[in-house]
Symmetry: D2
Subunit: 342 residues, 4 copies
């Protein structure tokens, strides 16, 4: 039996979640070739050059839901090629969530054939899945494509509820499952603790960057990384968080963790997750556009940019203004440190 | 601008919801050709011959979620061909729900090209849709494929909540939208009343057969039909319901309505809809298999038959036993009536 | 063992749900004597004189939640006395829902001692109750005060969910339980059918007046009555509904049922029950005030009238305008009928 | 205008939440004098002697819902008297949650009159409260009894949802509101962060002891304490947590935080809060009984001990076994430390 090239122990640091860059016509229902492949290549190169530690694509904001199969293949091919040119062993997880097991397996086989090392995988969401069905689903796909590493995509809105602790325990027994993009209400507490016990060191449960500090403060190296969608607004703050935390500098970690949380205060994701989830795709496009680190382009139908309520636009832009300020603060911090050590 | 061949006024009587017959290997994750096309043709012919008034396919039980694109095309082609051979103007709605607008449009264009007159259409369900997004979605697809009639698929479990009355009002202004497979908790009351006012005679709001009598008792010809999944367990009781109701024989309608409800008492759909929705696909396969009117074959992954809890198996089989009894009672009723009129 | 004076078979026709009339100072947090006892007496006399068939008080709109114990006693005493003066056997149910079993028993004993024949009883709602706890609760109170008839108060908002069918079955085995103010989403369908089978003729499951026609159309004398809060906006339409339905005049029943539903179309209760439930107390006061049949006075803290959003005020007033029109139509109908029969 | 004797700055360390000890007959629906006042006095003295920093009573586990008014008065009187004998300025919050504003005010006045310095206050829960209603409620009671400090009781199960951040902001402007028994899913993340910003230093947001470490690790002295129900299973572990955290010994804090979480792993509260909430009262009694630090006696109707499912009994007892082990570990740790410093 084949095994993935990536293991849980390879995962450490920042797992970036970039979008699928779109051409200007992406909101046109008759367009069928909407992925901006040039910007895709540039974006991936930029993230690699800036130093993120792993990359996952095609979750919700990566528009797994709205890309055509051909667009998804074109995008995945460019991403895989770009990453492999940089480092063939770089932990990369391309999303392959579909409405059923067989379509997902076909997508995984495509990914394997183009040289992708891993897949980001939510569960079919037409019907609410029971615990037993979740386990069987991941067992099936792992067995069908054993040489692909799996990062489980946990999103309580998209997939209709939490992944129970008993399921995490079972998933940790599947060799292909190496990580979880952990949601859990973007908070560290009872549930995270129990899930962490359940998976041991067999799976990495990565929390969102905003709350990684909380997990690291108690669990240390058992939680050696986080996922970050905000990294695509400019990754410097999360990279700084990584550098100081993994150097066990909790004092500096406390500073940057607080600044990252401060920057997210206006963003609806931090205030009302169900409301965020209704506009997830557009909100992420909006903030990437405003931040300017990449060129995301518009979202695809049915999730049109112009369906975004005005108050969410404003609060998102305030969030980006704060993020830009934190990027500036980090730059100054680094300059000051360099001056000190020089 | 083109218009559909089917209008709201063409819809009357029983809209049957047959499954997608599966070959014995349908539960195998490596099978890619799982549709039993012979049984598909036989099933459609049987339903047409027995006298259902319209047919809709590929909702939840029709495994829109789990068929591959090629399987769906093969199934749709046989259904369309079989129906057209019977009657080119027969109201047929093939399901084309996907995760986004463009994939649905591509499927609708395929359906139009093979001669299908209509489409059964739920909304993309990765994210919970707001009212505005629902309206835009149906406007988009109607504009893109204007010669296809649309039956809106309302399923509060699959599509994350109700369709608000204001949305029904807006949908009724889209010429292509002619009907709704109305869910609404399988009950007639405030919501149904308000939705009926909102759509006027521009859309037919078809309730489930079990509760059609309630709607007909007050609204009469404004609700001239119902949808029926149980029809594929043997349609005689629902056809009898249709015949007596549309002849305004409320006394006989009361008798058969009560018998149909009685037959559904043990079935989990009538007791706990969220629990039913977790096992919808398997439960429907199970009862069709037990009833013997068609040969459904097994469900497809990830919704395996063996994931069905034992208590649901037993209560479903009791439901089928009752249904068979009601079929018998109807047969005797018809014989007695024939004798009387002879 | 003692038994109640009222049995299920005594319940037929309209069960009115009047509020607890308030003095002008009822919104003052320092007022402790806010019940308008004169208006209470007048209101009850008026309802009795106009011909309602049973009366229940102190549910949600009757402000079980916001009356002090002394106010509740004063109100209950006047209601009991007024009703008994009219007819000692009149079916009257005074609300005694509290946060626990013992307080409810003490209230029930008070009611028994002042001569009340029945109690309207929701369950303690601090914690969500399991089925077993619901059954035990009603068994306990029935055993403790066996000579009081119980009308179960079903309200999915206040009491955190439905009453499962298995609980209805168990409640129907308690001799004191004679009726249910049935909620069930204000609709007739699967759930109502199953619950009706579960209770047999041992309990009357009264639906809201707006949908009684649906139930009567199928079940006839098994559902010989309904509850009505709108009756206190002027009971003529519901009394007319009762008269024609119980005379089995379904044609006329159809007319008045449709008019009653029409009058409720603008009212938020018919459009969004969870939203209605947030403002239940104030909304009922508002419409009673506007209708002018009784003088309700203001609601009590914390449910202040001025917390009502403007759009709900407007839609409620439109509902009342429609109701007044229906009252007028009924008056003319009765006049025309009288002329015909004269 | 009067002001409370306790301010937010007086709150630091462990806020214990002991139950209302019950006599053996507390499960009898005819008992009306079920509080074990001797054990009450002993329990309070023990907690004070062992060194908890504040005490709050009569939340959910303290059976605010099931005590009669007279029992509540008797219990409150003994608690206030016992605490005052120890230290008149000790921060004590007696629960006074009722179904309405006026009853709560009357209870608060009683508490003030017997010398209690504070009140633990959830909101009326018959109807789901809107943000504006929540604010008005707390404003009303604070204005009516200005000399009583208020600890807001946040319980998403009992009070139908979260307290929105905007409400926390408004509450922090009421001088009487000094603290919150913060729930928030027993986790530290986005919501906690935003609420903390909203209240500034005007209110203390105390998390549960199990997750205090996470909050302290980032916010330090802005979160100088926690609430603890487990303290009544033997407070040594939480007192040790307090001592090391407030001495800023994060290394030792990490150890004891992890042990406390470990002890809670089997307890249903850490795994499924909605399920816990259905049995909250009985589960707390069960574990206090098993731990032996106090004698809780049985719970009161309708929340009978024998309604507790067997699996919850077993997992709770395992939780207690672990807690006892942690108490032992702490004792040894302290002994070793004493030996070191000696």
């Amino acid at each position: 039996m084949a095994f993935p090239r990536i293991g849980a122990s390879d995962l450490r640091g920042i797992m970036a979640y970039p979008p699928t860059p779109a051409k200007p016509n992406a909101g046109d229902i008759d367009a069928r070739d909407t992925v901006d492949l040039d910007e895709t290549e540039r974006m991936i190169k930029q993230l690699l050059q800036d130093g993120v530690d792993s990359i996952a694509t095609n979750g919700t904001l990566g528009e797994m839901a709205t890309l055509t199969l051909e667009e998804w293949k074109a995008f995945a091919s460019v991403v895989v090629e770009t990453v492999r040119a940089h480092d063939p062993d770089f932990p990369l997880f391309i999303g392959a969530t579909t409405l059923n097991t067989r379509d997902t397996i076909d997508r995984m086989r495509f990914l394997r054939d183009i040289g992708a090392p891993g897949v980001l995988l939510g569960r079919p969401m037409w019907s609410e899945m029971t615990a037993k069905t979740m386990i069987r689903f991941y067992q099936d796909v792992a067995e069908a494509v054993p040489d692909l590493a799996i990062c489980v995509y946990d999103n309580t809105a998209a997939f209709r509820g939490i992944i129970p602790t008993e399921v995490y325990e079972a998933l940790s027994r599947i060799p292909q499952v190496v990580a979880v993009k952990y949601a859990g209400g973007a908070a560290i507490g009872f549930r995270y603790h129990n899930d962490l016990q359940a998976v041991g060191d067999r799976i990495k449960l990565f929390p969102i960057e905003c709350i990684w500090f909380f997990a690291y403060s108690l669990y240390g190296e058992r939680v050696p990384g986080c996922w970050s969608t905000t990294a695509t607004c400019g990754p410097e703050p999360v990279l700084y968080l990584r550098d100081v935390l993994l150097a066990n500098d909790l004092t500096e970690g406390r500073w940057i963790a607080e600044r990252i949380l401060w920057a997210h205060e206006p963003f609806i994701v931090s205030r009302d997750f169900p409301e965020f989830a209704r506009y997830n795709i557009q909100l992420e496009r909006l903030r990437y556009e405003a931040a300017g680190y990449i060129k995301p382009g518009p979202s695809r139908p049915p999730y049109y940019m112009d369906l975004l309520p005005e108050q969410h636009v404003e609060s998102t832009l305030e969030h980006v203004r704060r993020w830009q300020q934190v990027r500036q603060e980090v730059a100054e911090r680094l300059k000051a440190r360099a001056a000190t050590t020089a």
